[in-house]
Amino acid sequence: MSYLATKQAPKREDRLHSCITFGGTLCGFHKLAGGGCFQDGNREFSQGSICLLLPGIAMINSLKDNVNLLHGAVGCGVCSHSQNANARSGGLSHFGVLKDALWLSTALNEADVIGGGEKKLRSAIIEADRLYRPKTITVVTGCVPGIIGDDVDGVINDVQNEVTAKLIPVHCEGFKTKIWATAYDAVYHGLGRTLLDDPFFQERLIEEEAQRFRFEEQKKRTVNLLNVSSMGKVDEDELTRLLNDLGLSVNIFPVFADPEQVYKVKYAAVSISTCPTHDDYFCKFLEESFGIPYILKHMPIGIENTNDWIREAARFFGREKAAEKIIRTENERLGKALEGYRKFFQGKKVFVSAGEFRALATANLLGELGFEIVGVRSFHHDEFAAGEYEKLKKIAGDFSFNIANAQPFEEANLLERLKPDLFLGHWNGNSTSAKLGIASHVIYNTGLSYIGYKGVFEIARRLFRQLRNPAFNKHISKYARLPYRESWYAEDPFKYIKTPQGGEKHVRLSGNA
């Protein structure tokens, strides 16, 4: 593979045949995608979404001693204002320092569009290096330099000798890919190409055998725990706790990475993903380049998923027995803590929307808590989640299924039909359900606990809290309306999807709809 030899990561449409357009049922989707002939479609009507630049710089804003230089128009990167909250709280919990993320913009203007932005970029890199003295400068490119043809890599190569910071190009031209998960590849690509060299102090003139032995032994029991910002410190702590119980040391990468510690990612026995959609690119790179095998299978959200995640890790180290003991104890304690909640949740209808893996894993968790899954929406689809669909089918049967890069109009239509008791959606993705009066809860927030056994309990507590008093949403729904015409709710929710294969389009209506 060795994509890292190239200047930028390939888009996921090409590398993984990822897609963003489907409407129907889980079984219908399975029939279609299972045959391996799933081609992506289009929407005649679409709503705004995000591009890879947003999750890309969500990761980058967490990096220690980094200046993030956005090369584009001044609006590219304003998402940093919300990501700064995570940079501040995460920085505090990881490093004990409360500090704003540092981002800059070359703020390309009309003259730059005509004359090119390379000169400005070069001067900006030099000035930022002099003023802030960062260890690294990430140079993130938006759409404009991509269209006007700035040679960003050329500028960086050229100017690297004049600055002390390591320069890391990260290509995030939003118009080039519809799959924003390409962001993870783009950032891993930049970090992997630039920051993995051993630091000077690692080189020893005389190597003592005892030292070497200790190092090798340490390496044999160290795992890379990959986190691209899909979880906060509280979730990292939960997985670290479980891996420590297995007698393993944990090296977390890449969020809140210290540039001087990044090289450690090369000295681990195995890399474990917390979300295959996020990590496959880097896992494969580490294996090819440094012979570090990887486990890329489960997302540890939900009881069974966490059990399986631990089992996989333990199997690698031959510690199956220890794992079963941990699993037994944890499940028992958790089961008792959940008793009351399960009774309360039993039979309540829930609808879930998020990135593919997270949506499916969370739906699994909700099934375990006693909810009935009436619908799932995934932001995109690729090959990694195939197993998750199998798991979910077993626990939840068939239900409405929609693949969409947000597109809340389809969601509004589905929610009006399915009338769930509860909705879980991503950032800026809960207002549709809230305005329809449905109790809603955010499915991802780096300040909250979602992962592992602790996550199951904490989600249960939070959902119980939401369901106990949904007054806010009930009142909002009476006075705030969604911006769709009444006629829309009588239409096929997938009316605007144009599928090349003319796939299934109807939605399974639940009893009362």
Binding site: S46, Q47, G48, I50, A85, L102, K178, P483
Partner: protein
């Protein structure tokens, strides 16, 4: 004392969006309006996340966030053009989205590739006119490509477009009615409260007020805004372009005043407005009554204000609206000592000069700095107050207060000073109906400043 603008090769943590983002934010606040983006997929999300982090916990409105229709152009459109895709998108949008005014705006990508958006929108408008598309709707467009400037400029581009294309040239002149420009929704987190404060103040003069974005505004008033008698630009920088369009097309005169925060600035606005409209009323009597109410409310504060010695030196960092209005309020009404005023956006020579004039008084002359790097504020302060640790009798900036954005908490921490976020980004406050304009706004600002000082009491 004003410095030459300090120039950088970049903007540090830009405290505004691009022109596209400003236009989108403006449209999201306008009644019964559906923005239609001709843009790459990420533009809407970028602005939604920016509002999420900077606009006092407010994202979008009736049609905002990720619900905004967008053509989501990609590589295909960059190569082959996006006009066809835009036409398809607008037709479906009219079918699907419930609004009266549809405003198509362009982004960097679609503007650079040169899509003829005017032709696309003209065709659709014709279809609406002839009934080929049967919807009770108007459609206009604005070219707001992000590289054109910042969000304040985007507000002016899209407001000008609406005034040109949507306002009704045949509206009869409406006596004593005014349009209020200069407050950019979401860029000013307190936009709702600020507009309401201005409306309330102007209603004291018996005027009919169009503020475009509040619950008291409606599209028909915006359409008839071409019949107003006067435009008030409550900003030294924002909204001027739009005021000029009203003047050019509908011969409506305009006056430019800073954001009226507190009794002195509001009284000035009332006097100027009454004079411009030639109102036959006793303005001074109205002002006197408001002042009486204002100081009656302050009366019980007097003891604690002095007991706790609540007067402060102030550092003000902000956009043109807040840097000017907060500084003037401290000088004219609260009686604090502004020491440093830093403007964090790029301003033209004329803009800087007119602002500098507004902020110089005979006795107190804060240093004015025009520098987009807000993290340099500490540097400017230490120039004014060099450290002389061995000198017992050295002048210091103490007790100090930092008025700025949530990104200036770091400076406040270093100065050991309390802090209040007014200017974008306001990440650390929830804003719903709070505003600082008008007489009452001065009380609110006093409350917030003093509360920050005594928070640990």
């Amino acid at each position: 004392m004003s410095d030459f603008p300090v120039t950088h090769n970049y903007i540090e943590r830009p405290r505004y969006f691009c022109s596209f983002g400003g236009a989108l934010s403006t449209l999201e606040a306008m009644p019964d309006t559906i923005p239609v983006l001709h843009a790459a997929a990420g533009c809407a999300g970028s602005i939604a996340w920016g509002q999420n982090g900077g606009s006092g916990l407010q994202v979008g409105g009736y049609c905002g966030g990720l619900a905004v229709p967008s053509s989501n152009v990609g590589e295909r459109e960059v190569i082959f053009g996006g006009a066809e895709r835009l036409t398809e998108q607008i037709r479906a949008t009219l079918d699907m989205m419930d609004g009266r005014l549809f405003v198509v705006i362009t982004s960097c990508v679609t503007e650079i590739i040169g899509d003829d958006i005017q032709a696309v929108v003209s065709d659709i408008r014709e279809d609406l006119r002839t009934g080929k598309i049967q919807k009770n709707a108007d459609i206009v467009f604005a070219k707001t490509g992000g590289f054109k400037g910042n969000s304040y400029y985007g507000y002016d581009i899209v407001m000008s477009a609406i005034v040109r294309q949507f306002a009704d040239a045949s509206s009869p002149v409406k006596k004593n009615s005014v349009n209020v420009l200069g407050i950019v929704p979401y860029m000013d987190s307190f936009w709702r409260g600020n507009l309401e404060g201005i409306r309330k103040s102007l209603e004291l003069l018996g005027l009919t007020v169009n503020t475009y974005f509040t619950a008291d505004d409606c599209l028909s008033a915006i359409r008839e805004s071409s019949g107003a008698e006067l435009t008030l630009v409550v900003s030294d920088v924002y909204g001027l372009e739009t005021a000029r369009v009203y003047k050019e097309l509908y011969d409506i005169p305009y006056i430019v005043s800073s954001l009226p925060v507190g009794p002195t600035a509001t009284a000035r606005l009332l006097r100027e407005t009454a004079q411009a409209l030639n109102l036959k009323i006793d303005v001074e009597k109205i002002i006197e009554e408001q002042n009486r109410r204002y100081y009656q409310a302050l009366e019980p504060l007097v003891d604690c204000y002095h007991d706790a010695d609540l007067q402060r030196y102030a550092v003000i960092i902000g956009d043109a609206n807040y840097a000017v209005s907060a500084t003037r309020f401290l000088l004219d009404d609260l009686g604090w000592i502004p020491e440093l005023v830093q403007f964090t956006e790029a301003l033209s020579d004329t803009q800087r000069e007119s602002i500098a004039k507004k902020l110089s008084t005979a006795d107190i002359q804060p240093r004015l700095v025009f520098d987009t790097n807000a993290s340099e504020a500490g540097h400017y302060l230490s120039e004014r107050y060099p450290r002389r640790e061995n000198d017992l009798y050295t002048e210091t900036l103490s007790p100090a207060f930092v008025i700025g954005s949530s990104l200036d908490r770091d400076l406040a921490l270093k100065l050991g000073a309390p802090h209040l976020s007014l200017s974008f980004p306001v990440a650390n406050r929830a804003v719903i109906n709070r505003g600082y304009t008008g007489f009452g706004g001065g009380l609110t600002l006093t409350e917030d400043l003093l509360s920050a000082i005594v928070a640990g009491r």
